[in-house]
Amino acid sequence: MFKGGFIQNLPKIYGLYTGGFLVFILLMAVLESAGVSAASIGIMFVAFTVLIYALIGYLSRTIQVDAYYVAGRQVPTVFNGMATAADWMSGASFVAMAGGIYFGGYTYMAFLVGWTGGYVLVSTLLAPYLRKFGCYTVPDFIGTRYGGNLPRFCATLVLVLASFTYVTAQINATGTIASRALQIPFELGVWVGLVSILMCSMLGGMRAVTWTQVAQYIVLITAYLIPVFWMGSKLGNPFPHFMLGDEVQRLAELEASAGLIKNSAADIKAAGVPGGLKYISNPHSAVPAGGMAVWKYLSLAICMMVGTASLPHILMRYFTTPSVKSARKSVAWSLFFIFLLYFSAPMLATLSKLQLMDPNLPTAIIGKSIAEVKSIPWVQNWSAVKQVFIADFNGDGILQLNEWFMRGDVVVLATPEVAGLPYVISGLVAAGGMAAAMSTADGLVLAISNCLSHDIYYKIIDPKADVKKRLIVARVLLVVIGAAAAYISSMRLTSILGAVAWAFDFAMSGLFFPLVLGVWWKRATKEGAVAGILGGLISGTAYLIYVGPKFMANTPWLGIDHLRFGIIGASVSLVAMVVVSLMTKEPSSSIQKMVDDVRIPSGRAILGKQH
């Protein structure tokens, strides 16, 4: 049936896989109608998909350095795009993004622009050149381009800080989903999540992660799009992306008639609203007036874009393509696959809001009597787990817009239930969320452990280590880092560790300019790079501590709050790097020649195949 090698057969293999997954969904639907309980369907969905990933991870095991670090540099363009998309879209994108838009409206959508626009920077400024360089990790580029162990070490510091901030949130998400679907306690769910993640990456490193990420992308995109289209058709818009213009305007009318009332903090506290639950107080599509609002939107988008172009777990995906040309094209495919989910998220938020708010729809709850709303089954289910809450502030017994509280995740997780779709869809959504969180966690844990084993252990501590020893160290580190992240997640410190946005800000503060100037400015020197990395990292972190609500909580300067501290870090990094570079001796002719070589897209990579 399969002629030729594994790579030639990829379209067939993943075609079969997708078909098999669709058959599995149908099978679950049949079981549901035959009376199998919702809980068992949830368990089967999550368990079945996780076992498949583990199987792929096992089949991709390897004992070669270049297969372990960069998947043997033979991942075809389009498949690398899918893997990057899964690597990129985290549990947060999958579960929280539509909820963010639901509550934040237009202002929140700066994230959408930021998380897609960043790929233009990746493709024009970095990916093709890093691929030509032939490095294994991002600090590998910094270390070789600037020379010496100090820049390499500093870059490692930023990588670990940014990626670790990010990965605890992802393991937390796998734990939440696993605990809900498998009906086990959260603390146990975190460890189940960790074991699943390690099964995908431990034996085969980047090669195994690549092929599981492709499989995870297929699951997560199916799980996101089926409910959107299904719900759209139910409301008479079979292709919601192009047909919701009237609905968006209808929401503006409903907001105007209901009034966007802001509750006082004292009222919320007195009513006993559980933490993390929000109510709608921002307009869905209106643009807030004023220069400050514009700046807040733009500064957030800038941080996310520049952060995207500095995140090591994303950049390292482009080290795995066969050529510079395919690295470039692969960025385009990545963004296309990401776009499929991102342009659906606002539609999901719109549909979900409309169903709750529009009095002409049977699902509406706003404007109904509170007693009636409290008797709806899905409201009861989600109230029981403190995900939704009703507070009758004015005591009139009618549910107003500002009296309905909900956790953002509920938009994705409960909308199928609200719209009356069968439970099989909810099981599918759980499997999709698990795939999204696992694939990102895998990429991040691998980025950290690869960097520590290659840049710190092999390049700095023991340059004579043989291949076998290096790969053992890499795997031990993988387990240790995963366990550390799971341990921190299980302590539920995530609210203290802060938002996913921090990872972007850390990365942009310390890495963006040292990476970009390394390619685009020959005059950039070793001392300049060290000043850029440390200056950016230290000033960014100091500013975060200064404004962070959990730390000193001072008033942000020019609206640059804790989500946007990368603006400060990256600016300091740029200035420090340029000034120090100009003050120090220009790089040697061999380094300048190396930069010239990086700029030529064909020919041999700068670093050898095995280094």
Binding site: R73, Y106, M109, A110, L112, V113, G114, T116, G117, Y119, V120, L121, S123, T124, L125, P128, H241, F242, M243, L244, G245, D246, V248, Q249, H284, S285, A286, V287, P288, A289, V294, Y297, L298, A301, I302, P322, S323, V324, K325, R328, K329, V331, A332, L335, F336, F339, Y342, F343, P346, M347, D596, R599, I600, P601, S602, G603, R604, A605, G608, K609
Partner: protein
């Protein structure tokens, strides 16, 4: 100017053009968000639409265009190379 320098000059120009288009769709439109929002597309308020779909789609098309044109530049200067080995 050597072939290498000519190639790099063209590559740089191409990068600047691409980033200028990127800047328009990521920054300029939203700088004037409230006036842009008075326009509409497919019935959506325009700034909302751009933020939800329009700019996102523009980025996808932009990167494909960027990659294709860069490939042409590389080919013109003999740096295309069907397959590069490490």
């Amino acid at each position: 100017m050597s072939n290498k320098e000519a190639h790099w000059q063209k590559t740089k120009n191409h990068m600047f053009v691409t980033l200028a288009i990127w800047f328009f769709f990521s920054i300029v439109i939203f700088m004037f968000g409230s006036s842009v929002n008075e326009g509409s597309f497919l019935g959506y308020p325009l700034a909302y639409y751009m933020s939800a779909q329009g700019s996102l789609a523009a980025f996808v098309i932009l990167i494909f265009w960027f990659a294709n044109k860069q490939e042409k530049i590389d080919d013109e200067h003999g740096y295309g190379g069907e397959k590069e080995d490490d």
